[in-house]
């Protein structure tokens, strides 16, 4: 029998692998990174003497456990690190590994593809020195370097305070934290205290620590602009009815996360619009079964729910695969995981209320702002095309304007393009649809050598 394939070894992929191995299967595991952990528990590229506590803070225990778990199954799986899965069809996955093509057959697919930062462009967002929040975190965790000497973190989402805190902990000057959510939104956290005290208290601790350290924190931040010529030199914003300016040499920016769904698309999964994520996500049931038999979804790639949910969803999806193959499965465990996941969904609703996405920004973006940086398409040219051709749909917009046609295929700009299109044609963001995923999922070398 052909082995199942797990895509991604963050918390979801690791738990899925562990579960399948425990049942006696030998899964194949593909991951773009050189080591396990995903984004949240990413390991340093080289051991550099930093402790797990220094790297992962309060989550060090979880990180160490996951890394050890994965190391423990290494002999019982076929593991392809540094491997890009760039196409998928009919039980065959195409990988690119160090410039070589490799095709692997699979029977059963667990997608744990994770998420990337969600952004709306703001003036100056393409200047060198501007990073996403997730990118800032990867630089610190994996490479042991900071994105600047005097850094401002801005945007919204739980990652905003976490990354700012991690930078401060690492000894970097955090010049300010700018939260686009209004202060009133944080009332949701107070209500969340009963729902998820540990999570809320941990988040509040980041804020308190930063404040005590003298880091200014602003809420209700509007009209963000990143200034500079050759690279970022400062940041301006409006808050509390006043204009603010600050000099800095690094900016971490992000508005929560967006699911990475291209592989699910290639696998033929049906999608639905998630109002909470303001994104189309692959449909799944409580166990993680997609609309396609034998394809399972776990983790942030199927809807943003965080690392703790990802661990449980990875295990549950693997158990669903086992159930569907008539393996004996602990049904009480399945029920407990589903119950946990349902609870985390509620926490997620609370967090989204505390860190709302500033969708109203889309209408205020200046016409000359770069929207799709791969293809150098401005906000104004998108609006013009919408007017000229009566466009109302993402793929038509792509065809006419090139947005989402470049190296990132809309992974980075897609959420913003959808907002701008929706605003320009007067529709809800759900109504403008989504860019259809296509191979290659990411750029592949022309000289990809023959498949083995």
């Amino acid at each position: 029998m052909t082995a199942p394939l797990i895509v991604g070894v963050g918390p979801a992929g690791i738990r899925a692998a562990q579960t399948l191995v425990a049942a006696g299967l030998r899964p194949q595991v593909v991951d773009e990174a050189p080591a396990s952990g995903g984004q949240i528990y990413r390991q340093p590229l080289q051991p550099d003497g930093r402790s797990a506590q220094a790297l992962y803070g309060s989550e060090a225990g979880k990180a160490v456990d996951l890394h050890r778990t994965f190391d423990g199954v290494l002999g019982k799986i076929d593991y392809y690190p540094n491997a890009l899965l760039w196409n998928l069809r009919d039980g065959q996955a195409d990988l690119a590994i160090a410039g070589r093509a490799k095709r692997i057959a699979y029977d059963g697919l667990i997608l744990a593809t994770g998420a990337t930062d969600r952004i709306l462009p703001v003036p100056g967002w393409t200047l060198p020195g501007v990073y996403t929040l997730g990118g800032s975190q990867v630089a610190l965790k994996a490479q042991g370097c900071a994105i600047g000497r005097k850094v401002v973190f801005c945007g919204t989402g739980p990652l905003l305070y976490l990354v700012a805190w991690q930078y401060w902990k690492a000894g970097v000057t955090v010049a300010a934290v700018l939260d686009t959510a209004p202060a009133s939104a944080k009332l949701a956290l107070v209500r969340g205290l009963t729902l998820a005290p540990a999570i809320v208290l941990r988040g509040l601790k980041f804020g308190f620590d930063l404040k005590r350290a003298g880091v200014p924190i602003y809420s209700g931040v509007e009209a963000l602009r990143f200034g500079g010529t050759a690279r970022v030199e400062g940041i301006s914003w409006r808050a509390g009815g006043r204009e603010h300016h600050l000099l800095c040499d690094g900016i971490g920016y992000g508005l929560s996360l967006r699911p990475e769904t291209q592989v699910a698309d290639l696998a033929g999964c049906a999608f639905r619009f998630s109002a909470r994520d303001r994104a189309f996500v692959p449909q799944k049931d409580a166990a993680g079964r997609s609309s396609v038999a034998g394809v399972y979804l776990a983790g942030d790639g199927a809807g943003i729910a965080g690392a703790d949910a990802a661990e449980r969803a990875g295990e549950r999806a693997a158990l669903a695969l086992l159930q569907d193959r008539a393996f004996p499965v602990d049904t009480a465990r399945c029920a407990a995981l589903e119950s946990d996941l349902a609870k985390i969904e509620k926490i997620r609703d609370m967090l989204e209320a505390a860190f709302p996405f500033p969708a109203h920004w889309a209408a205020t973006l200046p016409d000359d702002l770069t929207l799709c940086r791969c293809e150098d398409v401005s906000v104004g040219s998108v609006r013009q095309a919408v007017q000229a051709f009566g466009l109302t749909e993402m793929n038509r917009l792509k065809a006419v304007t090139r947005t989402g046609m470049g190296r990132c295929q809309g992974r980075m700009c897609g959420a913003a393009v959808a907002e701008v299109l929706a605003g320009a044609c007067g529709r809800e963001v759900a109504a403008v649809g989504r860019l259809r995923g296509q191979a290659p999922v990411k750029p592949v070398p022309l000289t990809l050598e023959a498949a083995e």
Binding site: R396, A399, G406, Q438, P443, P445, L446, T447, A451
Partner: protein
């Protein structure tokens, strides 16, 4: 939109043939309703490679291609944009002596059609196009050919038709057409009933059922041309490249991306959709890196395929229905429609207005596919059919 509508001409299919016909008809003051089951220009017209080439076409297509060439030079005036049309020239490469002999024979055959083909041997080729890798025996260059951006052109034609007064209905599938005493009646999936004196069947890969419903079975299969696109690269390819034998075709757009085609996509369970095959895409990529050494370190960032109607003799079906007065077909461009369809629109408008066109199109008559027992149409004998078949074999794999 539901309700009723009465027009002179109803057009089924908003690709380049249909939308350019709509625009031309409006220029004649004729009322038009254009229907597309999805978005106009979103199928083969908008997702093809973008070659604007006459070189390589069989002689019987060249008068129509010349007609279309005139449209391409007037594009901005017609549709408001240049569609990234560049008269870059089209260079067809020969890998072997036999390929070169075929290019020479072709040049001889079409010498009267004004293509001004320039044949060159390997040394001349290397001197003039140093970015082409070693190993080519020679090539044939057509200076007046070029390339354009199908996504833009196929979107701008229906938009221009709309501005000119055509009623354009997108996401409005025509689900039935009948001919009654007072003209054609079209039924749409949106419950619109349309009466029209004349119907143009320009439904591309979806056209055969409409013909069939009028007792006219026409042989239409589907092909799925497959392409890859590189990341933007410094300017390199200053001509549109074809290759005798069809291994590859390539062009570079102003943005810097190289668009490289070849091979076929894989059809999905719903035959309206296809995806590039991994092996096919890799084959195209590897050939590109071999033929154009500067691409050896480039990345492919995007693949695509599209659905296109194809005929057995690889010539389109253009002309009056053999069964139904007032019904005109124009489809089956077999991977080579992008250059000629803007000219087809003008020809169709003439057929509507005058009943004939000065541009010769008898070779494309639907009558050529009538069963053998039916009387053959004048000017198209079995011997010519066979001749066409042989020529089309030589042209295998040269989508425009």
């Amino acid at each position: 939109m539901s309700g009723r509508l009465s027009v002179d001409v109803a057009i089924i299919g908003g690709g380049l043939a249909g939308s350019s016909a709509a625009l031309a008809l409006r220029g004649m003051g004729i009322s038009v309703a254009l229907f597309d089951k999805g978005f106009c220009g979103a199928q083969a017209s908008g997702v093809n490679y973008g070659g604007v080439r006459r070189q390589g076409r069989p002689p019987e297509q060249l008068p129509l291609a010349a007609r279309a060439a005139g449209v391409w030079t007037r594009l901005r005036g017609l549709i408001g944009i240049d569609g990234e049309y560049e008269r870059s020239g089209h260079l067809k490469l020969a890998q072997t002596e036999a390929d070169m002999a075929a290019l020479e024979a072709y040049a001889e055959t079409v010498s009267g059609y004004g293509l001004d083909l320039q044949l060159m041997g390997g040394a001349a080729l290397r001197k003039r196009f140093p970015w082409i890798g070693d190993g080519m025996v020679g090539g044939s260059y057509c200076p007046s050919d070029g390339h354009a951006n199908p996504r833009l052109v196929a979107t701008a034609f229906p938009a221009a038709a709309r501005r000119a007064g055509a009623q354009v209905f997108e996401q409005t599938a025509v689900v039935g057409v009948t001919r009654q005493a007072d003209g054609f009646w079209l039924e749409t999936a949106t419950n619109l009933r349309v009466r029209a004196g004349i119907v143009l069947n320009t439904a591309g890969a979806w056209a055969a059922p409409f013909a069939e419903s009028f007792g006219e079975p026409l042989p239409l299969s589907r092909i799925y041309p497959s392409m890859i696109v590189t990341e933007p690269l410094p300017p390199l390819m200053d001509v549109n490249i074809g290759m005798e034998g069809g291994a590859i075709y390539a062009r570079q757009v102003a943005r810097g991306n190289c668009v490289i085609g070849g091979e076929r996509g894989l059809v999905l369970a719903d035959p309206d959709f296809s995806r590039p095959s991994s092996d096919g895409a890799r084959a195209i990529m590897n050939r590109a890196a071999r033929f154009f050494p500067a691409l050896q370190h480039a990345h492919a960032i995007r693949f695509w395929t599209g659905t296109e109607g194809a005929t057995p003799d690889k010539n389109p079906i253009i002309g009056f229905s053999t069964t139904t007065p007032g019904l005109i077909h124009a489809f089956g461009f077999t991977g080579a429609g992008f250059q000629i369809t803007p000219g087809v629109g003008e020809v169709l408008a003439e057929l509507v207005r005058d009943g004939h066109s000065p541009t010769p199109i008898t070779a494309f008559s639907p009558a050529r596919f009538r069963p053998a027992r039916s009387p053959a149409s004048p000017g198209l004998t079995g011997a010519q059919d066979q001749n066409n078949q042989q020529k089309s074999e030589q042209r295998e794999g040269f989508p425009s």
